[in-house]
């Protein structure tokens, strides 16, 4: 479990940091890496102080945890039966910390290359406290969605829907980058992105297999589903792109793998091999379509967080309602194809609740920041790049 936590940490930094860092232009790479890195630091501190308590502490009306566990008081070496009876409570808390850190880091892809650094810090603090913690509580901390029976193995809603649809709010509120649609905004270093993608895949085993809370047969099954969906996602995005645009791209294959991973996340511990293949297949095609269609809607979700995590997470939660099986995980529930159509409604409600909450909540937070300290760098700073304007550093020299 501690190994899994370390793996998930490595997903945020260096994994996600490099994945995003390679996709931006030369002049913004440090600023972009810094987003993930400083969020990891910030959440690491907030989580042990109040975040974990809000998300997983004693339930208050199904909506939020109490602050009883502030500063980890009462969260020690003994297992907490609600969160894994075989592992120290602190281990569970650390594992959850890593999820809490990566989720706001995922959001940053939406406003890459134009966010003020101070605004980023405030945003991360507010978002983590007011969006992530409640959502995590609803689904994993014994909140109202948990009571309804929502299935989300490793964060399809808590992590991917929440970050993906928060990203949409970000793209809308911050507006397009200068030169969007006219200038050359191509990724400055795709090998860096591919390295990041590789580390993400690697770390995702911690994410999904670790969510089995032990090195057992369920972890193996989750590992299998995760790997299969990632591979299928890469292949199906590649084929979709090949047919649609005549060339299979490397970035496409990597994006497809991430789409597959995001999509299988909620289902990993509930489904068998063939559903995993199908989920990966769908993820690749659907997220490719979402990314291509983005152009039509005209928002600049710079690194495609909506198209990959938002869409992928929603599909994954829905698919869990179809394919979940008690044969795979007796602690779960059956889905539609295993005779329990009711689960589909629960999953749809989960999607709706998470999506709307993330979208609206993020919108409010952003507007508040914009009115107070301002969200976006000014035009000249954007031209010079975040690295020089926000940090007085250059990535390469």
């Amino acid at each position: 479990m501690l190994t899994s936590s370390a793996l998930v940490l490595a997903m945020t930094m260096p994994g996600l940091a490099l994945f995003y860092g390679g996709l931006v232009r030369n002049k913004n790479v440090l600023g972009t890496i810094m987003h993930s890195f400083i969020i990891l630091c910030l959440v690491s501190v907030m989580w042990v102080l109040w975040g974990y308590s809000l998300a997983f502490g004693p339930d208050v009306g199904g909506v939020i945890g109490s602050l009883e566990w502030f500063g980890l008081s009462g969260v020690g070496g003994d297992p907490n039966p609600a969160y894994g009876s075989t592992i120290p409570h602190q281990v569970y808390m650390l594992f959850q910390l890593m999820f809490a850190a990566i989720t706001p880091a995922l959001v940053t892809g939406a406003f890459a290359e134009r966010m003020r650094f101070s605004a980023l810090l405030v945003f991360a603090a507010l978002w983590s406290t007011f969006i992530y913690c409640p959502l995590a509580h609803w689904i994993w901390g014994g909140g109202w969605l948990a009571k309804m029976g929502a299935l989300d193995f490793a964060g399809g809603a808590v992590v991917h829907i929440s970050s993906g649809w928060a990203a949409l709010a970000c793209a809308l509120v911050l507006g397009k980058r200068k030169g969007y649609g006219t200038a050359y905004l191509a990724p400055h270093n795709l090998p860096m992105t591919l390295l990041g993608a590789g580390l993400l895949w690697f770390g995702w085993f911690g994410f999904n297999a670790g969510s089995a809370l032990g090195a057992n047969a369920l972890a193996a099954s989750a590992f299998l589903a995760t790997n299969t969906a990632a591979a299928m996602g890469a292949l199906s995005w590649m084929v979709a792109e090949w047919l649609h645009r005549d060339k299979p791209t490397t970035l496409g294959a990597a994006s497809g793998a991430i789409a597959g991973l995001a999509t299988i996340t909620p289902a990993a511990g509930f489904v068998g091999l063939f559903p995993a293949l199908l989920i990966g297949l769908t993820a690749g095609v659907a997220c490719y379509a979402a990314v291509v269609w983005k152009g039509r809607f005209g928002y600049d979700d710079s690194l495609d967080v909506v198209g990959i995590h938002g869409v992928g997470g929603a599909i994954g939660i829905f698919a869990t309602g179809l394919f979940a099986s008690k044969l795979i995980n007796p602690a779960g529930a059956n889905g539609l194809f295993f005779g329990n159509p009711g689960q589909v409604y629960i999953q749809l409600a989960t999607i709706g609740a998470a999506l709307v909450f993330a979208l609206v909540g993020t919108f409010i937070i952003l507007k508040l920041i914009d009115w107070t300290i301002g969200l976006r760098v000014d035009a000249e700073e954007e031209e010079r790049g975040l690295d020089l304007s926000q940090h007085e550093e250059r990535a390469y020299s």
Binding site: G179, A183, E383, R384, L388, E392, E393, R394
Partner: protein
């Protein structure tokens, strides 16, 4: 034949190129340079050590044209590369003795 060299702000390249193409200039050669002038550069800092970089990234365009097009090209570049703020750059015009197209061996105005 005249050789026109223009040092411009990098993000203006596309615009200048399009305007020149419209003028009927179908060839040019571009390179990345660093400029030193009235426009100030930037500061960088690494673990408390500061460096002041006085050179600013610029783009250099070289266009060779027949003599009577030279003025129009210069005007076009001024029009499209201008932002009005310091550092817009310079245009240098000089004379060429000869131009050759390597592919065909053609020389003079026909080679351009």
């Amino acid at each position: 034949m005249k050789k026109i060299e223009a040092i411009i702000k990098p993000f203006k390249l596309e615009e200048v190129k399009d305007a020149l193409t419209e003028l009927g200039v179908y060839g040019m050669t571009v390179s990345e340079v660093r400029g030193f002038g009235r426009q100030k550069g930037h500061k960088e800092a690494y673990r408390g050590t500061e460096y002041t970089i006085e050179f600013v990234p610029k783009t250099k365009i070289e266009v060779v044209v027949v003599d009577n097009l030279a003025n129009k090209v210069v005007e076009t570049i001024i029009r499209t590369a201008k932002t009005g703020s310091i550092g817009d750059g310079k245009i240098f015009v000089s004379n060429l003795d000869e131009v050759v197209r390597i592919r065909t061996g053609e020389t003079g105005d026909r080679a351009i």
